[in-house]
Amino acid sequence: MTGLRIEDLSVAYAGKAAVRGVSFTVAPGQTYGLVGESGCGKTTVGRALGGQVARGGAITSGRIVVDGVDVLGLPPAGLRRWRAAALAVVHQEASASLDPTMRVGTQLTQALRARGRDRREVPELLERVRLPDPRAIARRYPHQLSGGQQQRVVIAAALAARPRLLVLDEPTTGLDATVEREILELIGELRAELAAAVVLISHDLDLVGRLCDRVGVLYAGRLVEEGPAATVLREPAHPYPAALLAGTPRLGRTRRTHPLTPIPGHPPVPGEELAGCSFAPRCPRADALCHATAPAPSAVAVAVAVAVAGVPVPPVASGVAALHQVSCHHPGQARRPEPRPQPPQRQPAETEPTETEPAVPERGPLLEIRGLTRRYGRTVAVDGADLVIRRGEVVGLVGESGSGKTTLARAVAGLAGRGPGTITLHGRPLHPSVTRRDPGQRRAVQMVFQNPYASLNPSHTVRVILAKAARSLGGTRDPADLAREAGLDAYILDARPDRLSGGQRQRAAIARAFAGEPDLVVCDEPVSALDVSVQAGVLRLLDDRQRAGGTSYLFISHDLAVVGYLADRIAVMYQGRIVEQGPAGQVLHGPHHPYTALLVGSRRPGAPGRVSATGCPFAGTCPSRVGGLCDTSAPPARDLGQGHVVRCHLDPERLPRRAGNSTSP
């Protein structure tokens, strides 16, 4: 028997079960996806596969067999030898799994030595993961590499292992869309080449759907559904994956067409034992049976999966049965509400627009940014940006990491110091520093920050936080109202932030931003730190608040699907400049800026070239670069109508478009 076989794996931390009776098999060359909300036990399973548990934890039962070797039965020395010979693990955060004080090359050398090979292979390895100038990279320390580069180094170390079992724990979380795509492509190639059993852990259903042959859905440490990726992620038989899918924004689906449905409640923590199905408290279909007895795994008819047409099913490795199992008393009843993007089948009750392009009444500009420039020392973070936000409009701001999104947002809020350029609100200039703005202006512009853990003062209760905000912003509502509007239970008012979950904190932060009835709320990646299901709830809240008050948003995210979901118009930022802005649909689908094309995945970066300071900043990597023009002169702003402006030398007709929804499963 080759490949990986897990039987009845259970892991407990301090006696509390975190993973319970998980079994699955992965054939060599096959990729198995493990999905689930945060805290469901994905990482725990992943670590257990290498025979490792975190401190305080223990594998309480089960067998892990890799190519016939019973891993857990090995003596310590044998386990080490097996790890050295057959295992490779790519951890979630590359920066954490590289020793910060050791050169990358040295670390790879050690990985090679462990396999009895030597350092001469280092450059070759780095080249395999497509890192430029491998020799220079090898001499660097981890912190001198970007996140994507670090991740590639970790993958290179995994490659050096030529493993039989490869575990990838959230290998792309926290990476830019473009970088993520490269990494995934790399993994895809390697999978075929290594012929190893691959376990891919992720909470990104999209990604798992694209990469995996089979998927296991973990909930509260149990595998609630398991089967071919295409089937499980399209026609889940269990209500949990169905709910996860319903809460995940996708490119091309907006809040007006496909409102997200968050899963209520939160997953049980280890030790929180339930008599019945652990999902029952959150399940819309749960009945007395579900609450009373835990369901046993049962097979689902294969036919369901095959029935989905028009979608390429990933090649299934030979020898693996397309077995589909689910642990549910009522399998299949909770189908995904809207399986097809167009036309929408069901509309939420509150809204009526049915078109793709939302009918935003043309209103006057609320905020105008002209030639805004902000520097940090010598770094130009924002470089002559122009942006208009109209009343009641959600403007999404996207761009790769470091493109200046946060700086722009902070400049609007009056937190980014001084610099050239003007910002006007209702036609009146806003002072660059918030403390110099008048109280009315301060009330008008509020902000929701990225990190929910830092944005609330940990020493005040939610009530105090909201009351202070209401008082100093001249708001009329009391904290209880604010909290209720933000979907927070009343008891949370008297809790300090450290007692709150990430989602609750972000809701409190949103409530605070709305305490003074703002005209504009700047949201800097408000959901990036949140789990899918929580993210859905927060997005929903933002949507509600926007509709209720007609507030404008400047909404920042690196996740295009999220931006596309919420935004009426989208601005694309690149190296401190706004290279494109326009109605959301047009920007995402094109014709759009070559850089936007790169972001939405319809293009690949071009060969790197040199650009002068006066040229288009994107010319360096632009696949459609016009030699002698793009790299020397600044691109003109081309208006494509409906306020869609693209800064590019290319003729509008030659601008790239997005070909269908190829990246969507």
Binding site: Q52, W82, R83, H91, S97, Q110, A114, A157
Partner: protein
Amino acid sequence: MRFLLRRLVAVPLTLLGVSVLVFVTTELVPGDVARTILGREASAESVARLRSQLGLDAPLPERYADWLGGFLTGRWGESYTLGVPVRDLVLDRLAASMLLAALAFALLVPVAVGLGLVAGVNHDRPLDRLVSVSGLALGATPEFVTGVVLLVVFAVRLRWFPSSAQAPDGSSLLVRLGHLALPALSLVLLCTGYVARHVRAGAVVAIESAYAGAAELRGLTRWQVVRRHVLRNSTIAATSALGVQLQFLLGGLVTVELLFNHPGIGALLLSSAVDKDLPTLQATAMVLGLLYMVIVLAADVAYRVLDPRIRLGAAS
């Protein structure tokens, strides 16, 4: 580099401030160095004569200016009380203290790092608790207690080591180190706990880190993981603690030098302060201050050199 430059500029400024402070405070201390030199039985006239001989009659600013000018040009004057050139005195004493401090430090680093690592690797186990608590307790016991116990046991009872830190003139390095062993040891006992605690904290973080876990999953033994990854990361974390400890070591020198009869700079500081021997006191304070700042700076630089994240921070 800019950081280093700024700090280096601050050094003479701080020293200048210290010298003014020393001058003014010493002036305020009651007592009279001339009386100290001549003893209480000397007549008032003799004392007055000596005062004017020593130039103590001049107004304070003038004396300060004189002293500063002399100090900067290398003329550090003569000790009022001992009548020997201050520069030789201070530098000799400094050299003696440095030898002791260096030995103590050389012992301290491996011992503390070793114990810290052992504790960190076994954290939350009995061994860890043993190391942590005993380190704490030793660090909490004044060095004049541990020192005396060491003396009684090893010098008086067992006679393994001499009781005095001073070796006879012209003895070999080994003999000299033998004389310094007990005082160094008492300093080490004083400081080990503190440094070991910092190393331990660093080691705990390192051993629980993802890179240590990853290394283990690559098939490395615990020992290999500790040697390759934990050691360096935990010592880096403890560098600033070592810097603090070096300062502490200097402070401990006063008592240890007294106890082990080691004519070092700590003892000199105390006696010159008590006797109001201003030239000696000033020079001692300046030299110690300089040393102190150099140590802090060195610890910072060491931290930067050891930790590539800071050293090369700007490069990325």
